[in-house]
């Protein structure tokens, strides 16, 4: 599979450090209003499942990594992989009333997952 069993916290931390300002601003300004929900076609086509909400996806991937300073377990990172790879196709159609660039934050989540050998499994 080519996946590593250990989490390299240093790599995660360097990605977080490089994009600290963007992540911090996005997290600080998200008013948790949920108005972005309907702009996600996956949210609408999955019976309005809140886990597909754009804000939920970035808060629980890159947001969680930022708050925990990159110190997450393999299992937690696998859950994030499902969020950013399986539950988002990066169509960049999500709409935030405040203009937070949600797709680029989800992309950062993907970067972190990819750096740890976690990516979309097409054969699943």
């Amino acid at each position: 599979m080519g996946t590593t069993t250990e989490i390299n916290t240093d790599t995660i931390q360097s990605i977080l450090k490089q994009n600290r300002k963007q992540i911090k601003l996005g997290l600080a300004m998200c008013a948790h209003c949920s108005l972005c929900a309907e702009s996600c076609f996956l949210f609408v086509s999955n019976d309005n499942d809140p886990e597909y909400m754009p804000s939920y996806k970035f808060i629980n991937s890159i947001g969680k990594l930022y708050r925990k300073k990159g110190k997450v377990s393999k299992q937690a990172l696998e859950e994030m992989r499902d969020l950013v790879f399986e539950k988002c196709v990066l169509c960049t159609r999500c709409y935030c009333p405040f203009g937070i660039d949600i797709p680029s934050l989800i992309t950062l989540g993907r970067n972190v997952c990819r750096s740890q050998g976690l990516f979309r499994e097409y054969d699943r």
């Binding site: 601003l25 948790h32 108005l35 309907e38 702009s39 709409y95 203009g99």
Partner: protein
């Protein structure tokens, strides 16, 4: 209730005098500093195009009706089309939240007695209605946070606290104005809540009052308003 902190003259003089100055200074300076910090994260960039070239899709050939339907179709996919009711409630809530404290009669009387200047005041009945809108809006947002799964899933304790801080000055002002419960206690709480809210604005999620305008009117993006020229440079 006579010997409580609410009737302590030293405490009352402090929150009615130096504390008001302090909160306005923190509010003003905080806003300036935080806005500069935010603007430092942006740069003027060459304009990016998000719509096809006018030569390819000639807009002028469209009839008025076609333009209207196109615009309507565009609105339908925006947040206005998906959540019209919530957008309306949110708009009324925010407008009332900002204008009521500025134009309420009581505040202008205080300004007049202190500095001899005052702004135009709303009739008291109007202020009363606007205050009720804020309280009702706050209640609705609270209910959404509690009972709507998608909002509850991303809500934190901080969100509830800030919602309470935002509505508290209006609630206490309303109770004081109508002399519900003890007037003296309510007015002290009203002053304290107002000062707390002012001081928190630049340093909390309340800062979206500035961030919104910078992010939507000054940053180029697909959904930007006006004609922005800047982009993020994190």
């Amino acid at each position: 209730m006579n010997m409580t902190i609410f009737s302590n003259t030293v405490f009352l003089d402090f929150i009615k005098g130096p504390m008001v100055w302090l909160s306005f200074i923190i509010f003003g300076l905080g806003l300036i500093v935080q806005t500069i910090r935010l603007l430092k994260l942006t740069r003027i960039k060459e304009a990016r195009r998000f719509a096809p070239d006018a030569a390819i899709v000639p807009q002028t050939d469209l009839s008025k009706w076609e333009r209207f339907t196109r615009y309507f179709a565009f609105l339908r996919i925006t947040v206005l089309g998906a959540n019209a009711c919530l957008v309306l409630v949110s708009f009324i809530f925010h407008v009332c939240l900002v204008i009521t404290p500025i134009f309420v009669l009581g505040h202008n009387v205080l300004l007049d007695t202190s500095f001899g200047i005052s702004l135009v005041s709303f009739p008291e009945q109007i202020s009363d209605i606007l205050t009720k809108f804020v309280i009702a809006g706050g209640l609705l947002f609270f209910m959404r946070r509690l009972f709507l799964r998608r909002v509850r899933m991303i809500s934190t304790v901080n969100d509830f606290i800030l919602l309470f801080v935002a509505v508290a000055p209006f609630l206490t002002g309303f109770l004081a104005y109508h002399h519900i419960f003890n007037y003296n206690i309510m007015i002290v709480l009203h002053i304290l809540c107002g000062e707390l809210m002012l001081m928190l604005i630049p340093f909390s999620k309340f800062f979206h009052m500035v961030f919104f305008f910078i992010s939507r009117f000054m940053i180029v993006s697909e959904h930007s308003l006006g004609s922005p020229k800047r982009s993020w440079q994190y």
